[in-house]
């Protein structure tokens, strides 16, 4: 169930990412507010931003934000597809900013632990009007469809139809806690007493260990104001404070006529408002009970049995979308019961990345100064007795090497978290679409640099969503085509040939080559003189990564507008990766992200040619051999081969290849490395091997043009720089 996922980290991520997106959006919009219209890029960008916000808000169940982002996306979808030229630009800017403000507002509320209770209805209505205006009387069918969609999106004010969002404060058991029943009466002439009541609740939250109140939906339902005026506002509070303190917190002001605080015991507390509130509406009552159950369950030992005993099936404790607020914890005890059973979890702290970078730099400096000390020319004076110094120096080197290894491994994070997020997406999307999907994760322990994880999680989300939404067919279609009803999506990760491969494989319908080609031709992407058959599958599938290219006819909440794949490719390219698409119609598709190991740590063999050091990934090396001159075969055209145990390999002399100085000419002086990449083998001649070590790959500065066979550089223990050889590049 969805409840099993912890949303805490996701919520932080959501707020952080969307906060950034909104900032960029506003900057861009404001930048162009004086222009006559948005240019193509910004339209695409705004559209994508809204798409992303819509997607992530959908997952986090912030319906109002989803709805409003969807609406704005609709508007920009129209702008992008139809290029209307009668758009009142300033009005559009206003609308975009209004939406951005609304979303940031909601996010602020979420961040502060308040419910996101804004009403998007009005803004959506305005957007609808605006959309209709720029559409003019235009095309019927399309508009009908869109209208219907808009209607659906605008419909919510989610609070109306959905069960009221509730406010839980995670209860804690402390013996010092006291229970209070609080009645707050407002002056009858108080306007919007529900808001005033909320103010009190908000204030009480500061001290509350557990807090329930009635009426429940004071925030979303203005009608509760009347109830509050009539019957008073009732609060059940568990806290470690005295009656006076409570009175002080609520404070009798111009609005509150009277506050009654009655202390009660735990039993009474758990009975909630039932005693005098028999006529309370059904839903809140159930909610109250379930909350009580929760308190029960959490505060007592043997949590699980307790829950099963409590045979009230009313409703599982917390529904997704309700706001769970962890109360402030007065002491150590407040480890929530929820965490208890998990027991042996490693503990983590999050550290600002910039501090890590700084640490890394400092350690780099330390290593350099270390070598300066240890190889200091003052030590070379003959006749010095350096035994003790050498011992101490060895110890120092060991520590600094360890230190370096630790800092490097600190940046590595397993992909498990990211994969878990995808699991959640598959779950949500498949449920909404009524598909039955098995989600398999392979290699989620693969460690990837933190920076890379940040960059791939969005693209991965799009790909997974695509796979579920239009990769996997509906149950009926699957049955008809003789597949099992249950679709399968496999998410796997591995490191190979110095790259991280992350692939999403589904056994769905696959890509329709003909359809893609037809659309590409319509959009004028193909060379008219070339027949369809001249395009390779690979080339054809790459079309789906272009902006605005979607073969899905129906726009859904999840995909089909042709954003997504272009964002994916953009983000992947930004970190120097690539996307490969394989697909077979009727059998499914595989989307593979190939991420370079920029910043990843690899095991490498350090070797020397002439005066230069090189590193080769250990995985690419099959074996080392010392060879004899007579094993060489020279072709007249200068190419060389070598026979090793009856097998013939092409030979590459690294020194010669790169035109280095002072490399060893004779094969007998050097060492041969047999490299293997994707079944192709080559022998590489180097002068000597230095050793194996873990290395952190750094990109070669972009100022230097790409050199074939080099994939990066790294810093060796002595502070010098070694170039990393790319086996695949050398074999080519």
């Amino acid at each position: 169930m969805a409840e099993d996922f912890s949303t805490d980290g996701m919520l932080d991520m959501y707020l952080f990412e969307n906060g950034q997106l909104l900032e960029q959006l506003q900057d861009m919009v404001l930048d162009q507010k004086d222009a006559d219209c948005f240019d193509e890029d910004s339209i695409n960008e705004i559209f994508r931003t809204m798409h992303t916000i819509k997607g992530s808000s959908g997952i986090m169940m912030f319906d109002e934000i989803t709805a409003i982002a969807h609406k704005l996306e609709d508007v920009f979808y129209y702008l992008r597809e139809s290029h209307p030229d009668n758009v009142p630009h300033l009005e559009l800017v206003d609308h975009v900013l209004e939406v951005a403000d609304f979303i940031s507002n909601e996010m602020d509320k979420i961040r502060n632990g308040d419910p996101a209770d804004g009403e998007s209805g009005q803004i959506i209505e305005e957007l609808d009007k605006f959309l209709n205006k720029i559409k003019g009387g235009g095309d019927g069918g399309d508009k009908g469809k869109k209208g219907a969609k808009g209607g659906a999106a605008a419909e919510p004010p989610a609070n109306v139809h959905e069960p009221p969002k509730q406010f839980y404060i995670a209860p804690m058991a402390t013996s010092a806690s006291r229970f209070y029943r609080i009645y707050i009466y407002f002056y009858p002439e108080t306007e919007m007493s529900n808001v005033h009541a909320y103010k009190s609740v908000y204030a009480l939250k500061e001290i509350a260990e557990d807090l329930l109140y009635y009426p429940e939906d004071i925030i979303s339902d203005p009608d509760t104001a009347n109830t509050i005026i009539k019957d008073g506002f009732k609060v059940l509070l568990q806290a470690q404070c005295s009656e006076e303190q409570i009175r002080e917190i609520i404070g009798v002001g111009y609005d509150i006529e009277k506050v009654d605080v009655v202390e009660c015991n735990a039993m009474e507390f758990q009975q909630g408002f039932d005693i005098e509130n028999g006529d309370a509406p059904q839903i809140p009552q159930i909610d109250l009970e379930s909350s009580v159950e929760e308190i029960d369950a959490r505060t007592q030992e043997g949590e699980k049995e307790e829950k099963t005993e409590e045979s009230k099936p009313a409703k599982p404790a917390i529904a997704p979308g309700d706001f769970v607020i962890k109360s402030k914890e007065p002491g150590k005890q407040k480890k929530l019961a929820k965490d208890k059973p998990k027991g042996e979890k490693a503990s983590f702290i999050s550290v600002n990345i910039s501090k890590m970078d700084q640490l890394m730099e400092l350690i780099g400096e330390l290593v350099i100064s270390e070598s300066v000390v240890l190889q200091n020319s003052d030590l070379k004076v003959p006749g010095l007795n350096l035994d003790n110094f050498n011992k101490a120096a060895a110890q120092l080197s060991k520590i600094s090497t360890d230190l370096q290894n630790v800092i490097m491994s600190m940046r590595m994070v397993p992909l498990a978290n990211t994969f878990q997020k995808m699991n959640r997406i598959v779950f949500d999307v498949s449920r909404k679409l009524g598909k039955d999907i098995e989600f398999v994760m392979v290699g989620e322990q693969t460690e990837v640099d933190k920076n890379i994880i940040e960059h791939i999680s969005d693209p991965l989300m799009h790909i997974v969503r695509n796979s579920v939404d239009h990769g996997i067919e509906s149950k009926e279609e699957r049955r008809d085509s003789g597949k099992s009803e249950r679709g399968k999506v496999t998410l796997s990760a591995k490191t190979e040939a110095g790259k991280v491969w992350i692939s999403v494989e589904d056994d769905g319908a696959g890509l329709d080559r003909d359809k893609i080609l037809a659309k590409a031709r319509r959009q004028g992407l193909l060379d008219d003189s070339k027949p369809d058959s001249a395009y390779l599958d690979k080339e054809v599938f790459q079309f789906i990564t272009l902006p605005g290219f979607s073969t899905n006819e129906v726009v859904t909440e999840y995909s089909g507008r042709g954003v997504g794949m272009d964002v994916v490719v953009q983000n992947i390219q930004a970190i120097g990766g690539s996307l490969e698409i394989e697909s077979k119609k009727g059998f499914g598709s595989i989307m593979s992200l190939k991420i370079p190991l920029t910043l990843a740590i690899i095991d490498g063999i350090v070797m020397e040619v002439g005066k230069s050091s090189f590193v080769m990934e250990t995985g690419a090396i099959k074996e080392f051999v010392r060879v004899k001159e007579e094993m060489m075969i020279h072709e007249p055209n200068g190419e060389e081969y070598i026979m090793i145990r009856g097998e013939c390999f092409p030979v590459l002399r690294l020194g010669q290849w790169y035109g280095l100085d002072e490399y060893k000419e004779s094969v007998e002086d050097g060492v041969m490395l047999i490299l293997e990449v994707e079944d192709r083998k080559v022998c590489l001649l180097v002068d000597k091997l230095i050793g194996e070590q873990e290395i952190v790959v750094k990109p070669i500065p972009s100022y230097i043009k790409k050199v074939k066979g080099l994939s990066g550089c790294t810093q060796l223990g002595d502070g010098s720089i070694a170039l990393i050889l790319d086996a695949a590049g050398l074999i080519e």
Binding site: L362, G364, S612, P701, K705, V707, Q715
Partner: protein
């Protein structure tokens, strides 16, 4: 009275702000390469370091000497003399690397000798003289000639210095050679 102090405060603030901005303005790091003195606006200069071990990169232009490790950061270094197609020189104690930062890209410039930081007023900066056919090329990375007392400094546009196409380098080199003759 209040207005007065308010006004005064504001003036002071403005001055402070403009001072901060001005400390770097009009100052140039000068260095010697060949027979000429060149100047770089000081805002581009990150630091000056001693020559250190350079890891050569194969298959690059000869003026790109390779990579150095600057406290864990890998930065490329460019030999300014070779960049100007002047004859190479032997590196010695006085050889320095000026680390410059352009558009958040760090690059080291190997120069024969650091001279000094000089202040050149805008009115002492002349556009480069355009002699004959070479005028186009010259405008590429020497954007002005600064007068300091009796001497002149060729003021470099670091962005163009690093990124100009090779073609113009050749032309400029020809011109330089002509100048030397």
């Amino acid at each position: 009275m209040e207005e007065m102090s308010e006004l005064k405060r504001q003036v002071e603030e403005d001055q402070a702000a403009s001072n901060e901005h001005d400390t770097q303005k009009g100052k140039y790091m000068t260095f010697k390469s060949g027979n000429e003195y060149f100047g770089l606006e000081i805002q581009y200069v990150n630091e000056i370091i001693q020559l250190q071990a350079i890891t050569a990169i194969p298959e690059t232009e000869d003026y790109i000497k390779g990579l150095i490790n600057l406290r864990g950061k890998v930065i490329p270094v460019v030999d300014v003399r070779l960049r100007f197609k002047q004859p190479p020189f032997e590196y010695n104690d006085r050889t320095c690397i000026i680390v410059i930062n352009i558009k958040s890209m760090m690059v080291g410039l190997i120069v024969e000798k650091i001279a000094e930081v000089v202040e050149i007023k805008d009115n002492n900066i002349l556009p480069p003289p355009s002699i004959g056919r070479a005028d186009k090329a010259h405008h590429k990375y020497v954007y002005g000639i600064g007068k300091v007392g009796d001497s002149v400094k060729l003021l470099l546009d670091p962005d163009k210095l690093l990124n100009d196409e090779d073609l113009s380098v050749v032309e400029q080199a020809n011109e330089m050679n002509n100048d030397e003759e």
